[in-house]
């Protein structure tokens, strides 16, 4: 008998298990998050006799007699203080790491009531956060310490209007850990499903023997391709992704599912999976795009290995470069990157009348519906999807990873089924950032004015299309940079290989080509004899000018202001590097891009409903502020409902930095209708009514035959500066971002700090190693920046009017990550004279052995 005390309650238990499983499954303490169960992420920290410790390692027998404390066991005062502090500091984004952070904060503050920043950072060193860049979490711990020492100050009276630094609306549930992510749900009669994955990246499946697994007591089903009622394939844009690989077909990567086993318990499930015997004919995998493009390469998909070919051309780049005074030509390469969101993929599905209900953590409930329904043989409306809290996405949760499997399993066993990826599975399965090989040619005149740019891009899009086509397109359209010149030609190709799929990743291809063009500009400045700042200032796009893609930019274009904002800090430091970037807000290029929002009046309150995922970026707070601004209603009179396909209209995927602008404008339009109604009626008289706002972000197709096509409804612009110390460590990153109208500056700073630190990893430390298409990197060995290693990040928010939708607000989600790597590489170039063309950079103090 094991005796253990949790939050003051004594437990006596027979079965030994890990502390994490005991706390979550037996004690039902859901603040203790399961982010990896391999000791790497820190989301499961608890206090053992007052000392923070990850709960996924020790068995409960090893902590017998100890006192375990989770957030549920905090005093009411402590709870209130941490909610206040984390909210006011803007420390909470996706929220999945937050309870672990709070635990480590308490562990520190109980013994050190007035810690310094370094002590706070050290205390949080074992907790990964992928959203915030840690800075605002340090702020929160400092603030909590102050409140604990001195008592809480009076709470601010927020108006919730645009421009106010309000705390996120979901802070309380995320800090105290009662907010539900899918894995936290308690569902009656729940069964557990998991897929047997491919043993080889490329192999023909010869046979699948389910008999032994099926014979095992507690196994409910072993589902293979022939059990699928509808189409075999799913896919975000191109339906090329086999739900399960049928006998006779080939696997395309190690993440391919062969059979889904459904069992009564997770333990039985693991045993049963081992009993499914799959015979393969092992084939040589296609390991990179150069092998894939060979004529005799095996065709990984019916249409061949070329997923996408994009050619963007305006003016005459070849001639302009030939006539230019200075020409630079250079090859660049950027690596695979793993999103490393803290919450692994998880879905729970259940039979629902004659359809299926899926609880998901993803970036678009309607995308999940549209992908799953044909596979399940159901009309769209019979696949209902509800978003639970989403523990980070960054592009990595746009595809089907577990949702479709859960839906299929629930339909077949006619019971609720949970499918959750282990962290190791997550590392293999969801699409990554495309590695790209690029060759750029840049021609300038004697003044450093760009005359023409030519480029070629080769992308490895891995096993499935995912969003590979649009990512390549965005990489190409943005390769020109945010500059004013006319002659531009780029040719990009994305090839299928047997690597994990590559898809959306914050920056959407632009992160890669921005590195190339910005590095060349830095070098060109030297050739021309002007500063890297000056060359950008001379070429920077200004309102009314024409981008290389032909679009005339609007009055909200503030690239020049971002450059001016960093000029002094750049010029004051000898080892500073800088880079500029632009990033579209919205899907653009002529595709139908709708924002939709319903404001419903219920019990006198405004219910804000939109099928648009909040993945931690703070969409709910943005919409509440938009509605407060437009209607004048108080925060307490509004309720933001989670994204779903049941009563929230389709507002597209959280992708392309689009939600603030596109769903924001839809919400604003719904408010306008409400305001009109309120002119003649009271809110009580409007009880039960709904106001529907819709916004189509109309654009022109790529290559449209118009003089100045509008590719995107808005672009955000940015300049970032990296400042190095003499010893090569980074002193700070200064990031100036043009956001149009800042809806919530606190949230914007959080996005900037998080985006910058994410790309600090991209530039300096992160890896996702593949050997013969087999991923070799674990969550813990990616090289994610830890709390005690991050430099300062200073955000400069540049506001400028001119965008006539969404109260002038542009998206900020992706651009924060785009210019960071070339700014850092530019700084090292000044420090050590080594011009680097591949990432991560070498010869830095951050380089890993």
């Amino acid at each position: 008998m094991i005796e253990i005390c949790v939050n003051g309650t004594e437990y006596q238990v027979e079965k030994d298990q890990t502390l994490l499983r005991f706390l979550r499954d037996v004690c039902k303490l859901k603040s203790v998050k399961d982010g990896c169960s391999e000791g790497a992420c820190g989301t499961c920290h608890v206090l053992i006799d007052g000392v923070p410790q990850k709960a996924c390692g020790p068995m409960i027998s090893m902590v017998q007699g100890k006192e375990i404390l989770t957030i549920e066991g905090f005093t009411e005062r402590e709870k209130e203080i941490y909610v206040r502090a984390f909210g006011e500091a803007g420390a909470v984004q996706c929220g999945f790491c937050i309870p672990g952070m709070v635990i480590c904060a308490k562990g520190l503050l109980d013994v050190n009531p007035k810690p310094g920043r370094e002590e706070i950072a050290w205390a949080l060193r074992n907790n990964i956060c992928r959203c915030t860049g840690y800075k605002k979490i340090f702020d929160a711990v400092e603030l909590a310490a102050k409140y604990l020492r001195e008592g809480e100050s009076e709470e601010s009276a927020y108006s919730w209007r645009l421009g106010e630094r309000v705390p996120r609306i979901d802070v309380r549930e995320k800090v105290l850990g009662y907010g539900e992510y899918v894995d936290d749900m308690e569902v009656k009669d729940l069964a557990y499903g998991s897929a047997v994955r491919a043993a080889h990246p490329r192999a023909r499946v010869l046979s699948i023997d389910k008999s032994k697994a099926l014979a095992m007591p507690g196994v409910l089903a072993v589902i293979t391709a022939e059990d699928i009622p509808g189409t075999l394939e799913v896919g975000h844009i191109v339906r090329d992704w086999d739900t399960l690989i049928p006998v006779g077909k080939c696997t395309r990567y190690l993440g391919d599912a062969i059979a889904i086993v459904v069992a009564e318990t997770p333990e039985l499930l693991e045993k049963a999976k081992k009993l499914v015997k799959v015979e393969y004919e092992v084939l040589q995998p296609v390991t990179n795009p150069y092998e894939a493009m060979k004529e005799d390469a095996p065709k990984l998909h019916e249409k061949g290995n070329l997923l996408a070919h994009k050619h963007v051309s305006r003016g005459n780049a070849k001639e302009a470069i030939e006539n230019a005074s200075h020409v630079l030509k250079q090859k660049f390469a950027t690596p695979w990157t793993e999103h490393a969101f803290l919450e692994p993929e998880c879905a729970i599905a259940m039979p629902d009348d004659d359809g299926v209900l899926i609880y998901s953590t993803d970036q678009g409930v309607y995308a999940t519906q549209h992908e799953c329904a044909p596979m399940l043989g159901l009309p769209n409306e019979k696949v209902r999807v509800i978003n639970k809290l989403v523990g980070g996405g960054f592009g990595g949760k746009e595809d089907m990873t577990v949702q479709h499997h859960a839906g299929l399993a629930a339909m077949i066993v006619k019971r609720p089924v949970k499918v959750k990826l282990t962290r190791a599975e997550s590392m293999i399965i969801h699409p990554k950032r495309h590695p790209m090989d690029m060759e750029f040619t840049l021609g300038c005149n004697d003044k450093g004015e760009i005359q023409g740019v030519m480029a070629e891009v080769i992308a490895d899009t891995g096993a499935y299309a995912s969003l590979g086509g649009p990512v390549l397109e965005r990489a190409c359209t943005h390769a020109a940079g945010p500059y004013h010149y006319e002659n531009f030609e780029i040719d990009g190709k994305a090839y299928y290989t047997n690597n994990p799929p590559a898809g959306a990743f914050r920056g959407f291809g632009v992160t890669q080509t921005c590195f190339a063009i910005e590095m060349l500009l830095t070098k060109m400045a030297e050739v021309v004899g002007i500063s890297p700042w000056e060359i950008r200032y001379r070429n920077a796009i200004r309102p009314g000018e024409v981008l290389p893609n032909g679009q005339i930019v609007d009055n909200a274009t503030a690239l020049v202001e971002t450059l001016e904002a960093v000029r002094d800090v750049y010029e004051a430091h000898p080892y500073a590097g800088l880079a500029c970037a632009m990033k579209n807000a919205g899907v653009g290029v002529g595709l139908p891009d709708y924002g939709r929002c319903i404001i419903g009046v219920k019990n006198g309150k405004l219910h804000i409903r939109s099928g648009a995922s909040c993945i931690g970026q703070g969409l709910g707070t943005v919409l509440v502020q938009m509605v407060a601004q437009t209607t004048g209603f108080a925060r307490d009179d509004m309720i933001y409902d989670a994204s779903n396909t049941i009563d929230a209209p389709d507002s597209g995927t959280t992708s392309g930095s689009r939600q603030t602008l596109i769903t924001g404008e839809a919400a604003r339009r719904a408010c306008e209708l409400l305001n009109q109604a309120l002119e003649s009626k009271t809110i009580e008289e409007l009880e039960g009514e709904e106001f529907y706002g819709e916004y189509l972000a109309a654009t022109d197709a790529l290559g449209a035959d118009v003089p100045n096509p509008v590719s995107h409804v808005a672009y955000g612009y940015a300049t970032q500066v990296c400042i190095l110390n003499e010893d090569g460590t980074i002193e700070k990153i200064v990031a100036a971002h043009d956001v149009g109208k800042a809806v919530n500056p606190l949230s914007i700073e959080g996005q900037i700090e998080g985006g910058v630190i994410m790309s600090l990893g991209f530039a300096l430390t992160e890896q996702y190693q593949l050997e013969e298409c087999v991923p070799k990197t674990k969550y813990g060995t990616i090289g994610l920046f830890r709390a005690h290693q991050v430099p300062q990040v200073e955000s400069i928010i540049v506001e400028r009017e001119g965008l006539n939708v969404a109260c002038g607000a542009k998206g900020i989600g992706e651009i924060t990550s785009i210019p960071t790597a070339p700014a850092i590489a530019g700084a090292y170039y000044r420090l050590n004279g080594k011009f680097q063309t591949t990432l991560p950079l070498t010869d830095t103090p951050y380089e890993r052995p």
Partner: protein
């Protein structure tokens, strides 16, 4: 990349064992603590004592990491480490597996189980012996949980396999 660590302490990389002196079973580790007391004498803060198994033990609450004991140790088995790095293989034996096993009940035999289970890639086997890279370690304790010899200890005493 050097981290700014709040506090360093001295730690003795040997737990001793009932057989730390040559005995009838012939157990005799030449690498471990010999209980000479040099460190005890060198410590101005009286932070070191000789423990029940004949090996020196540092009271990490008293220790300030001055390093005098490290200089005084003839066996070279006291190291300066960040106090917060809780999980450590407290053994200095560098013999191959069979000899190490013979020499002491608490010896590291270089079996690599901790290395395989470390999520961070922080553990390597050097000289038949587990070494944890403090920069990479995130104190999860998987190494302690998986160590078949009980070599890896939680110096805070929170997690203990033989409770």
């Amino acid at each position: 990349m050097k981290n700014k660590v709040p506090r360093f302490v001295a730690r003795v990389y040997c737990k001793g064992c009932e057989h730390s002196q040559p005995d009838a079973e012939g157990k005799d580790c030449t690498y471990g603590c010999i209980g000479c007391g040099g460190c005890v004498e060198s410590c101005k803060l009286h932070a070191i004592t000789i423990g029940e198994h004949g090996a020196a033990v540092v009271d990490e609450k008293k220790c300030v990491g001055c390093g005098l004991c490290i200089k005084a140790c003839p066996q070279d088995i006291i190291h300066k480490v960040a106090a917060d790095h809780s999980f450590q293989p407290l053994c200095s034996n560098r013999d191959a597996a069979a000899a190490a096993k013979k020499a002491c009940d608490n010896s590291c035999i270089g079996c690599r189980i901790c290395e395989k289970n470390c999520p961070m890639g922080a553990i390597t086997i050097e000289g038949n012996h587990a070494v944890i890279d403090e920069e990479l370690c995130t104190d999860c304790g998987f190494c302690l949980v998986k160590c078949p010899r009980g070599v890896i200890e939680d110096v805070r005493g929170l997690i203990c396999k033989n409770r």
